[in-house]
């Protein structure tokens, strides 16, 4: 007569044989595919044999969900809910978006800072190196160039042009201001901050050649006293086309 321990022994023996023959239990993906009928006939048969060889897995696979008719006490649910919230402390979705936005901005800012830093370093290094100033064009105020009164002429040959603006006449202003305007349209190309007069009563103005297309320009010197300013002198300059290389 077979009793329960006998059946258990037979059962354990059968399971051990099956496992030795079949190997590892099926994966969860295999089980779900088996359930959906997505496996080939041979594969499905193998999964079936493995389920018999791994009865705990077979039980888990087949156990239905209990009916939704029995609640846990409220205090148990409250305790579990509070534990859930404590462990998985939420980050506001909107905050998360803001966080991501600022992370992006920070990354861009860091990249820009690196680029500008490199440029600054390059410029700084460049400035520390001696360099030769462009040929100077010494400007004489209009009406002071004699009978011919030809405007000063300059032909840019390098990256910049140096204007030497000499003050002739009243020199008792507190400060001066210079403006560069186009002679034809009188549009302002450049304007300086207030400048204190030098001992030679002249100002050296280095102007990038690219802002000086060929044409006639005027440098206007203003004398500043308090809030008032007065035109002191104008200097007409004829910028000529750069010769072809």
């Amino acid at each position: 007569m077979m009793n329960q321990p006998d059946w258990n022994s037979v059962r354990d023996s059968l399971i051990a044989d099956d496992r030795a023959k079949l190997g590892e239990p099926p994966t969860v993906d295999e089980l779900l595919a088996y359930e959906r009928g997505e496996l080939s006939k041979e594969h499905a048969e193998r999964v079936q044999q493995l389920l018999i060889a791994y009865p705990d897995l077979a039980r888990a696979y087949a156990t239905p969900f209990p009916p939704d008719d029995e609640a846990l006490p409220d205090d148990v649910i409250d305790r579990q809910w509070n534990a859930f919230r404590a462990v998985n402390r939420p980050v506001s979705r909107s905050n998360a978006r803001v966080l991501q936005f600022w992370r992006g901005v920070a990354a861009i800012a860091a990249a820009v800072a690196i680029v500008f830093g490199a440029m600054l370093w390059q410029t700084h290094t460049e400035l520390l190196r001696p360099h030769v100033l462009p040929e100077a064009a010494i400007l004489t105020p209009d009406g002071r160039r004699g009978l011919a009164e030809q405007p000063s002429a300059v032909t840019p040959t390098g990256d910049s042009v140096l204007f030497v603006v000499s003050l002739i006449g009243p020199t008792d202003y507190e400060t001066y201001r210079l403006e560069l305007v186009r002679g034809d349209s009188h549009t302002r190309v450049w304007s300086s901050d207030p400048l204190r007069a030098t001992s030679s009563y002249s100002f050296n103005v280095e102007i990038p050649s690219r802002v000086l297309p060929p044409g006639t320009y005027q440098v206007i010197a203003y004398g500043l006293r308090g809030n008032a300013q007065e035109e002191v002198a104008t200097y007409t300059v004829d910028v000529r086309r750069r010769p072809a290389p």
Partner: protein, 180 residues
């Protein structure tokens, strides 16, 4: 990272949690998982649901939640089976099981063991000789699985399970000459 929208989004999740927690927990308990671990697995289930709330368009997230719970359970059971292949499963977390464990029986003498092993071999051979369909049903029935569970595993109807089991038992009785 858990992301929470606050407001209706958060309230919706909490409502789902409170409504479904008991069912998820009882599902794990129904699979012989100890109380504390069943709570841990339930929390894992809801955490995964929370992380995927954006994907849930359906008003009723239960199918999605049930799939998560099932996947977690199968992974857990499979991992244990892989770790302890061939070893009998004893849940050491369950104090009732430990205290209820019977004392080890007295070892039978050599002659009794020989008789036992001969009987076991006879039964093994009898089971092995069954047609595959009957053998598979019997093997799962020995594991205390219900008819509907056996039917699901083998992909057959409950009536087919009953029929095959009836035939298998009759064959075994005839071969072993006893009422099992």
């Amino acid at each position: 990272m858990i992301v929470d929208g606050g407001g209706p989004y958060d309230e919706r999740f909490e409502a789902i949690y409170r409504k479904r927690y008991a069912r998820v927990w009882r599902y794990f308990r129904a699979n012989s998982i100890a109380d504390d671990e069943a709570h841990d697995l339930s929390q894992d289930t809801f955490k995964r649901l929370y992380e995927r709330m954006d994907q849930i368009r359906n008003d009723d997230p239960w199918p999605f939640l049930a799939t998560i719970a099932r996947t977690i359970l199968l992974n857990r059971v499979r991992a244990r089976q892989t770790q302890k292949r061939g070893a009998p499963m004893v849940n050491i977390d369950d104090p009732d099981l430990i205290f209820a464990e019977p004392a080890a029986p007295a070892q039978p003498d050599y002659a009794e063991r020989q008789t036992e092993e001969a009987r076991w071999k006879q039964v093994r051979d009898a089971v092995a000789s069954l047609p595959p369909g009957q053998r598979e049903c019997l093997r799962l029935w020995i594991e205390d699985l219900q008819y509907d569970e056996i039917a699901k595993i083998l992909g057959i109807t409950i009536d087919a399970v009953k029929s095959r089991l009836r035939d298998a038992k009759r064959t075994l009785r005839e071969q072993l000459g006893e009422k099992s």
